[in-house]
């Protein structure tokens, strides 16, 4: 087809040239006519050059920070967002339609955005990546979007760039925590949540001079949850129990306890019956109270654990052999070991990281157990293990009450709240999975959504969601608190402004692009394509020649 068109154009041009040239008076005019015809031909059908047609260089956002060769032989496209360059294509899919032979991408810059990564995966393109150093800013910030009142809300994140300081500001704007990122740029901050409702904390990144580098909004929804019913059995009074009971009572946990003082005398009148255990969520006991339980009671506890009860076994002294045997059957093989008993809990747990705590000098072997609490050296101080539908924990830190005693009652409360929360029978409603970061103008996916759900935006407009297999997509237009409404419940989530947290988004793109990197197979045939030259220059030449011809003609007329 192309060739036919070319032939026809060539013939037409030849006829035109001949007819014109025959009428021309000077040799120069004839030559120019022929040249102009040639130029016109090449404008219409540009000549091709051979080149590597299978590799497409893609300039993505941040490409301006990469030193790259000024001339590239392979085709190149510019995605939107590159500073100093006009985007040549709106997205990668467009570029791939323009270059259908492409099998490999060479990405320059901070990586491909989500809409483009999809195509790399779908078409199975191999990808090489030339990345600049990450720009200074917050690369990652993770915090739970839902929390309970009074809890210690933790933010862990990573920054790029050196000599920085990270500050956490509370909703009223006061700085509540400061941290200096470590060598890898990682930081951890925490704040105690006070009221209930939706709040926006601020995360501010400051440089060495205290000037603001970046500011992020961290949303948190503080909601009360049904308090677990707690049973407490102890073989003797201890300060740990005093503070534990105090915290549990203040936090509104229904608490029943029995602390044995001596034979037949105990504080509290708790008796373990299957009903009692079935109604409760967590049982805390120590080795002495375990040893004093009857076989039926022990069996009742284990049966209740299989039905979902959480049990925390506290090691407060040397284990009697029988108890050790029974606990080994529950999955915790405890052995005394000559270990130092003093330890520190680290800045994450203790208000004063230098404060010393005590543990039982034991080693615990447990298959498939998860560490519930670690010292600052990384040694386990509490383990957690699933058993049936419930969970059993082993705890051998003996004086966590020192936290409360030294004034950090919130840290003590947070430690036990998290421990009990991990053990307790599940009770919280199944929550739809909301995205950690949502941005205005960016599609987001909501998971575990019930049919008939809708989203209420800050302007009060409701959008019904199309739910398919528990998933729904939503495209927020404006920033602010949105509410996912389903089944009479509403779940708030925050949508960030379209230009918020750019470094964080770039970092996410980088990580995702990194995962896509797959160099082309070395044995793969290098496809050579005929790449047409640009038409522009030929058209320019044609225009120049025609102008010259016109001028010559005109001069001739004047001369006459």
């Amino acid at each position: 087809m192309m060739n036919h068109a070319g032939l026809i154009i060539a013939l037409l041009l030849a006829v035109g040239v001949l007819s014109t040239a025959l009428r021309s008076r000077t040799f120069g005019q004839r030559v120019l006519t022929v040249l102009a015809a040639l130029a016109l031909y090449f404008t219409l059908l540009p000549p091709s050059m051979t080149g590597r047609g299978d590799v497409l260089t893609v300039l993505s956002a941040g490409a301006e920070r990469v030193a790259r060769p000024s001339r590239v032989s392979a085709p190149q496209v510019v995605l939107p967002g590159v500073a100093g360059e006009l985007a040549s294509v709106p997205d990668l899919a467009t570029a791939l339609r323009q270059y259908p032979a492409v099998t490999a991408l060479h990405v320059v810059g901070d990586g491909l955005p989500a809409r483009d990564r999809e195509w790399v995966r779908r078409l199975g393109l191999s990808l090489t990546w030339q990345a600049p150093l990450p720009a200074r800013g917050v690369q990652q910030a993770a915090a739970s979007a839902y929390a309970v009142p009074g809890s210690l809300w933790r933010i862990a994140g990573r920054t790029a760039g050196d000599a920085l300081q990270v500050e956490l500001t509370d909703p009223a704007g006061a700085v509540v925590a400061r941290a200096r990122p470590d060598g890898q740029g990682e930081f951890a901050l925490s704040a105690t949540l006070r009221g209930e409702g939706e709040f926006l904390f601020g995360l501010r990144l400051l440089d060495a001079d205290g000037a603001l580098v970046e500011a992020l909004m961290l949303p948190v929804v503080v909601r009360r949850e049904p308090p677990p019913r707690l049973l407490l059995l102890a073989g003797g009074p201890q300060p740990e129990l005093k503070f534990l009971r105090r915290w549990a009572t203040d936090a509104g946990l229904p608490l029943a306890s029995r602390i044995t003082l001596r034979d037949e005398l105990a504080l509290g009148e708790l008796t373990l019956t299957p009903t009692e255990l079935g109604q409760s969520d967590v049982l805390i006991l120590d080795e002495r109270s375990w040893a004093s339980l009857s076989e039926q009671e022990q069996a009742a506890i284990i049966a209740a654990v299989e039905q979902g009860l959480g049990v925390l076994l506290r090691v407060t002294g040397p284990l009697p052999e029988r108890v050790a045997e029974q606990w080994a059957r529950l999955g915790f093989t405890v052995q005394a070991a000559p270990l130092p008993s003093a330890l520190r809990l680290g800045a994450e747990r203790a208000y004063d990281p230098r404060q010393l705590f005590t543990r039982r000098p034991i080693t615990v072997r447990s298959d498939g157990a998860q560490v519930l609490l670690r010292s600052d050296q990384g040694e386990a101080l509490a383990l957690l293990r699933g058993h049936g539908q419930g969970r059993i924990g082993l705890w051998w830190l003996t004086d966590s009450y020192k936290l409360a005693q030294s004034g950090a009652a919130s840290h003590f409360g947070a430690l036990w709240a998290e421990t009990i929360g991990a053990l307790a029978r599940p009770a919280g409603q199944a929550r739809p999975e909301l995205p950690a970061w949502a941005f205005a103008g960016e599609r987001l996916t909501l998971t575990d959504v019930l049919p008939g759900a809708s989203v209420l935006n800050p302007q009060g407009q409701s959008t019904a969601l199309l739910v398919e297999a528990g998933q729904a997509g939503y495209w927020p237009r404006s920033a602010g608190w949105h509410q996912l409404r389903q089944g009479g419940e509403s779940w708030p989530f925050y949508v960030q402004a379209a230009d918020a947290a750019r470094r964080l988004r770039a970092a996410a793109d980088r990580a995702a692009t990194e995962a896509l990197v797959r160099p082309a197979h070395p044995a793969a045939p290098v496809s050579v394509v005929q790449q047409p030259l640009a038409r522009g220059p030929f058209f320019g030449i044609f225009l120049a020649l025609m102008t010259a011809l016109w001028w010559l003609e005109r001069r001739g007329v004047r001369a006459v």
Partner: protein, 701 residues
């Protein structure tokens, strides 16, 4: 051959150019006036540009009139020229003969035609239209804001429901001493220096009858009308919120609250340069003491002085002399350095003396300057003798606690002693009985104090008593060993019961203490007196070793004391015991399942419910907030709260617009800082969703 064609052409050109300039002139003038009125220099630039452009176009139009135009024009105007006026321009030499003839004819005719005006006619009407349009624009620009009728509303409503603030201007005149220029706050809010004179100048539409500014603390500033403007003044000493309240006109459209913060003039900051510590203890006398301070202030420093106190002598002979000495400073107004040298020799500073110096500096705040004082600097040359006690800065007091038995204890002890009597020797019995008598005495004295009785015994030399009584004076401290025969009067004197250091009691003689005596009502006094009498008797018998005889008195005394005690008690009405009704179906079955679950005995601490918490809870739960209580609490605690004005403003905004979601979130965020910290609640594990549950069950099978 003298045809002034060139002059004709020139005239025509000028006419065209002038015409264009005349058309543009009103608009240029309009632009110039508006630039002058608004003081916008950008408009002046536009004016110059437009002027240049007009000139250029005028020139272009003028140039467009060339010879050909002239010829056509002449031909059109004068038929007598027979369409041959082009010949008038041509050179006769180059013309063919016929043409030359025609040219000659024309030239001959020319004078008849006269100096014809061939200029295009003056376009009066166009100019008039342009000028009128410009004038109209000018009127609109200048006169519009002052038009007496209300500005037309966009909705086209003829009746406006809200007033509008057409122009607002708040001029802040800082106090003179600050030396700051006046500033203008167009948004009527901001931070102003303390003591600044504020003057408002507001304009409203429609015109109200009266305008006043209502401040949040209840004060009001009434504005007066002056030439279409409302103005008023106030001196601002404390930050505040205010609102513009109109009378005789609808309220303002955005009924906003304006916030004025006060930038306080900070007190000067003093830094000590020499000496480097507040207490300098000299080892050897020195003739001079060099002192140096530096002070800085945010505005400017005022006068500085040094308060020098010389304390001479020791013990009770300390003589204190004070003098104040002005200190000149070196440096600029905001930061100065002060140095002086005290001539100790001239002051008569000697061994054992202290020189205490305080530096004091003022700033220039008016009317009352801020004053900063440094810590007291002490120069001490200790006495050689007193060197070792220099560190002993306090008075050692030797006070023993008061030990004494109660009446009931005395009875019990007496009975025990009587029971023990057969096993005791006579002397031992007497000894113990006597000791009990001493206790009885102490108790009697104790109660006697309530009646204002004099503390009659125990003074050495004042009331000579027996050796046994000496022991009694020594009080229970001595009594506790029970066998203290080797009695030491000096020790006893110093450790006398509860009264060490009581010089008056030791040397003087106090009788009734009026205060103590009148404390009790006559009835109680009477019973107490009777009790004391019984105690006397009991003491007497005990001292004589007649325990059996003492007991009735003791009982009687106890009875009286109880009467006194009970006379002050409050009795509550008795209520019957209300037990829950018994459930006969469950009784004696041993089933505990139905009973209420056991609970821990502790009760939860309830954090103090400040109105902030209550408001917060109301806002989050959606119930009706108690605004009045919160506002009252806020006003009462304005000084203690970090940003009370902000809180007031936000709560006010929400009160006015109850369904403003952004206002609600803002107020919640502000209240956050005031909330007490609750005990950490427990985050719960989530129940598995249906799919998760199914997966789990499948795994388990």
């Amino acid at each position: 051959m003298n045809v002034p064609l060139a002059a004709l052409l020139r005239a025509a050109r000028w006419r065209v150019a002038r015409q264009l300039l005349a058309l543009a002139a009103p608009w240029l003038a309009l632009l110039a006036i508006s630039a002058w009125l608004s003081g916008a220099y950008r408009q002046l630039l536009a004016l110059a540009l437009l002027g240049l452009l007009t000139t250029f176009f005028a020139y272009r139009q003028a140039r467009a009139l060339d010879w050909r135009w002239l010829v056509r024009r002449l031909d059109a105007l004068h038929p007598a020229l027979e369409d041959s006026s082009a010949l008038l321009i041509a050179d006769p030499v180059s013309l063919p003969t016929v043409a030359r003839l025609q040219q000659a004819r024309l030239l001959a005719r020319w004078p008849e035609l006269g100096m014809q005006d061939i200029r295009p006619p003056w376009r009066h009407r166009a100019w008039l239209v342009s000028a009128c349009a410009a004038l109209l624009c000018a009127l609109l620009l200048l006169g519009l804001p002052r038009l007496p009728w209300p500005a037309p509303r966009e909705q086209g409503n003829t009746v406006s429901l809200t007033s509008e603030l057409l122009s607002a201007r708040l001029t802040v005149t800082p106090p003179a001493y600050l030396g700051l220029p006046d500033s203008v706050l167009t948004d009527l809010a901001g931070e102003v220096p303390e003591g600044a004179q504020l003057s408002w100048r507001l304009q409203f539409s429609p015109e109200p009858q009266a305008v006043s500014l209502h401040f949040h603390d209840g004060t009001r500033v009434a504005l007066r009308a002056e030439a279409g403007y409302w103005s008023g003044e106030r001196r601002l000493l404390q930050g505040g919120l205010y609102r513009i309240v109109l009378e005789g006109a609808p309220a303002l459209a955005p009924a906003s609250l304006y916030r004025l913060d006060v930038r306080r003039d900070a007190a000067p900051i003093i830094r000590l340069i020499a000496p480097d510590k507040t207490l300098t203890v000299l080892q050897a006398p020195q003739p001079q003491w060099a002192l140096a301070f530096s002070a800085s202030d945010d505005v400017g420093l005022g006068e500085a002085s040094l308060l020098v106190t010389l304390a001479q002598g020791s013990g009770e002979q300390v003589r204190v002399s004070e003098r104040r000495q002005m200190l000149p400073g070196v440096g600029e107004a905001r930061s100065r350095r002060y140095a002086t040298t005290l001539d100790l020799k001239a002051m008569g500073f000697a061994e054992g003396d202290d020189v205490i110096v305080r530096f004091q500096v003022q700033d220039q705040r008016a009317p009352k300057p801020n004053i900063s004082r440094s810590a007291a600097l002490i120069l001490r040359l200790p006495n050689a003798r007193s060197a070792d006690t220099a560190a002993m800065d306090g008075l050692l007091t030797k006070t023993l606690p008061a030990y004494f038995r109660s009446q009931r204890q005395i009875i019990i002890d007496t009975e025990a002693l009587l029971a023990e009597k057969p096993r005791l020797s006579e002397a031992d019995y007497l000894d113990k009985s006597d000791a009990l008598g001493v206790d009885q005495k102490i108790l009697r004295l104790r109660y006697g104090q309530f009646l204002g009785e004099e503390f009659e015994s125990g003074q050495e030399g004042h009331a000579p008593e027996t050796g046994a009584d000496h022991r009694a004076d020594a009080g229970a401290a001595a009594h506790t060993d029970g066998h203290e025969h080797a009695h030491q009067p000096e020790a006893a004197a110093s450790s006398r019961f509860g009264e060490a250091g009581d010089v008056l009691a030791e040397f003087g003689h106090t009788h009734d203490q009026a205060e103590a005596a009148t404390l009790l009502d006559p009835d109680t006094k009477r019973i107490l007196k009777a009790a004391l009498a019984q105690m006397w008797q009991a003491e007497l018998k005990l001292r004589l070793g007649q325990g059996e005889a003492a007991l009735p008195y003791e009982y009687q005394a106890l009875d009286y004391i109880k009467q006194v005690q009970q006379s002050t008690r409050i009795y509550l009405a008795r209520v019957g015991l209300e037990l829950p009704p018994t459930d006969p179906a469950r009784r004696l079955t041993g089933e505990r399942s139905e009973s209420s679950p056991p609970v821990d005995g502790l009760s939860a601490s309830r954090p103090e419910l400040v109105p902030a918490t209550a408001l917060y809870q109301a806002l989050t739960s959606g119930s009706r907030p108690d605004w009045a209580g919160f506002d009252a609490w806020l006003r009462a605690h304005e000084a203690e709260l970090p940003d009370a004005l902000g809180l007031l403003a936000d709560s006010d905004a929400l009160q006015r617009q109850a369904n403003c979601q952004a206002c609600r979130l803002r107020l919640l965020a502000r209240l956050w800082a005031l909330l007490p910290q609750p005990a950490s609640h427990v985050p719960r594990r989530r129940l598995p969703s249906a799919a998760q549950q199914a997966y789990r069950e499948a795994l388990e099978q």
